[in-house]
Symmetry: D2
Subunit: 240 residues, 4 copies
Amino acid sequence: MNDAMLKLKPARRERLADVLYGQILEQITSGQLVEGAKLPSEAHICRDFQVSRPVVREALMRLQADGLVVSRQGIGTFVKSRPSDKLTDFAASAEIASYLRAFEPRLALETECARLAAMRRTKAQLNQIGEALAALEGAFERGETGWEEDFAFHLAVAGAAGNELFPRLLQDLRDIMRGSMRMALGLTRQGSQERRRRVIEEHRKIFTAISSQDPDLARLYMRFHLTESRARITGSQGEA
Amino acid sequence: MNDAMLKLKPARRERLADVLYGQILEQITSGQLVEGAKLPSEAHICRDFQVSRPVVREALMRLQADGLVVSRQGIGTFVKSRPSDKLTDFAASAEIASYLRAFEPRLALETECARLAAMRRTKAQLNQIGEALAALEGAFERGETGWEEDFAFHLAVAGAAGNELFPRLLQDLRDIMRGSMRMALGLTRQGSQERRRRVIEEHRKIFTAISSQDPDLARLYMRFHLTESRARITGSQGEA
Amino acid sequence: MNDAMLKLKPARRERLADVLYGQILEQITSGQLVEGAKLPSEAHICRDFQVSRPVVREALMRLQADGLVVSRQGIGTFVKSRPSDKLTDFAASAEIASYLRAFEPRLALETECARLAAMRRTKAQLNQIGEALAALEGAFERGETGWEEDFAFHLAVAGAAGNELFPRLLQDLRDIMRGSMRMALGLTRQGSQERRRRVIEEHRKIFTAISSQDPDLARLYMRFHLTESRARITGSQGEA
Amino acid sequence: MNDAMLKLKPARRERLADVLYGQILEQITSGQLVEGAKLPSEAHICRDFQVSRPVVREALMRLQADGLVVSRQGIGTFVKSRPSDKLTDFAASAEIASYLRAFEPRLALETECARLAAMRRTKAQLNQIGEALAALEGAFERGETGWEEDFAFHLAVAGAAGNELFPRLLQDLRDIMRGSMRMALGLTRQGSQERRRRVIEEHRKIFTAISSQDPDLARLYMRFHLTESRARITGSQGEA
């Protein structure tokens, strides 16, 4: 494996690490960097991209956290999985990094929301979650992406957790969550029928676990759903 | 066990459930409601406090979540532990409910911050956490509550998690976390030397686990610290 | 909802709680006790079944732990989900209780095995897991239940955890795990094509996570697989 | 940092990895290998110890898992913490590896036992846990190590989990757990008064959480206790 050619345009705007992340991502989705290809060294990227070492490290750390590359200490960094080249139809390449980052606090917060909701939800709150689920199915049937319905579902689960701080924190992540959902569901809409079926089933499992007041199950299914959602974006699972 | 006398003043302000929570809490801390005492029925509290059933349910659910009362379905709700009567020296009784609620999203977010910080922290970030720990020790030695230093410590851990959304979410909880820390550390300052030693040791364990890059240990020690902090406020552990 | 008719034959053998569990289970699978039906009171079951209160409590606790009934304190115990009536084709009714109990230590042990295997597996160990997966697929294609291949897969994951105590403990559960797998996969073989596809996919996800050295993912997918396996037996999910 | 001198006697008995682990451990506890010292390369150890590469890798992996050394990929393996030199008073050096390995399945199994015990324990089972705790305190007061009482406590928690497979699995680990407890508590008896106080407090917290039927708290305190126990053996915490 020779070092892959990595063509970088020096960046000028703020969140430099996100811009660098986006450029590397584009070269992966476009196939210029194929799976298994070795990225140039940190020093090399610093020079070509004209940024400091911490910026390069942050971009590589995030690419690794998102499952797109893998670092082998002392050896180098390699492309691990290739997201759909349609990814950039739904988000600017520099935004994708920030959309994927949203999954980390979401995993922490929303697994706990699901657990607490299974313990504390009132009937009215359960109905709200059920209505959001039905609305998401309706949107899918009409051929829409359904990202607003998706956000409403997750907000309803947070609302059922019996602590107003949870929906408040999700509201604080609102823009980034919605961007992320628009991107994920945009890909899903273009994907197979099977893929849409899975997205609905994952949500229904969460609803059912909250309905039957099983906190461990609700937490597991929320974790599973968010993990699969992220993997559908980054292409780190070989599904249709 | 007869129903305890619960004297309630009808409430008029917004977060009615918090006001009701505060009134019941005051009667527990003051000793009017002793451990094991049975609270009046929901219907009874509705009438005396002149609020709807959902408000009463929310207040009781939160008192239970905070470990102050325990509900036995079909039997009633009983006082479980008695916080220090000095609690209301450091916070208005209607605020205490909201301060305690902050522990739920904190447990979700900050255990994940500690785990990620152990994996990703740079040397500079580790130093910042270490400096915040030293500042907290300094404040204790000067006889101060150290709540600003405490917040700085937790923010530094979030900052080391390699995802700017974590410190942003903690900043969103800033006022409520600070109120909660002022209350908890106010009690600690008045407490025993042993109690102050424990608070420092809990923070030091988190720092050491992040320093030695052990994600599971960092998560465990953060969970332990936050759980013990809450228990020190609600008096649900029999320590000095 | 009136109390359902529950016809019980007094039991004479050892593990009385399992025999009682089995009799109640049979009446659920056969449809004599329908979903939502209220079970007789503990006192009533004690008298009809001629056993002591602790035996009845244990049987009801296990039925609840397995998701077959739900207890509402102070109100009663109700049938929650109905397993396939073919369940008793694959195991004696008094054995089913013990097969389902195996999932509790398995969830504890095997999620940790999967996590450690993702961190420590050698190439040879990964190959062994991969071969066990291929063997399971082969068995399914030949129309066999594949329970020996299933056990071999889980043992290979435990073997890759880098601590010989894990496979030793699984060997200690060997008979009960195999009985449980024979029952679960017996139902799966008779089930839909879709159901067999899911079982394979769940195993493949575990393999892939261990292969790509992602401990959190491996743990999640093992937990998901074991939870779904149990739910497929107890019928607590509405799948084909 | 030069490579440390590591004097190895070629081993001839079975579990070669444990014998090698023990020899390296002895040189750490005796101070021949100081904190920060770099171990010889794998190839070097293979040659001196006359074993194959997998044996060396397993010994180093376990030393790392136990927190005694740390591997930096591509750079080498370094001594991280130094256990008490009294460790080998209580166990043969080749046994210590196997005693420390016991903590991995224990953490998996016993955290779940504690959680389930908090949900399911009968009064009789709670009393048994309480009696085991009192017996442990008694043993400490009489200046005994109390390892039999310690085992009885953990077995009583497993017995209260409402699933006979848990105590059966602990019984399967019985010899290794007892060896491990004899070693840990042997060190504790020789340690400070403060150290004995902590051991009792950790057990009491578990008992109290099970008593007050708080599953999350019981799990947390069991995890904390087992983690601290291991750290007390390996010296990876700087306590008295």
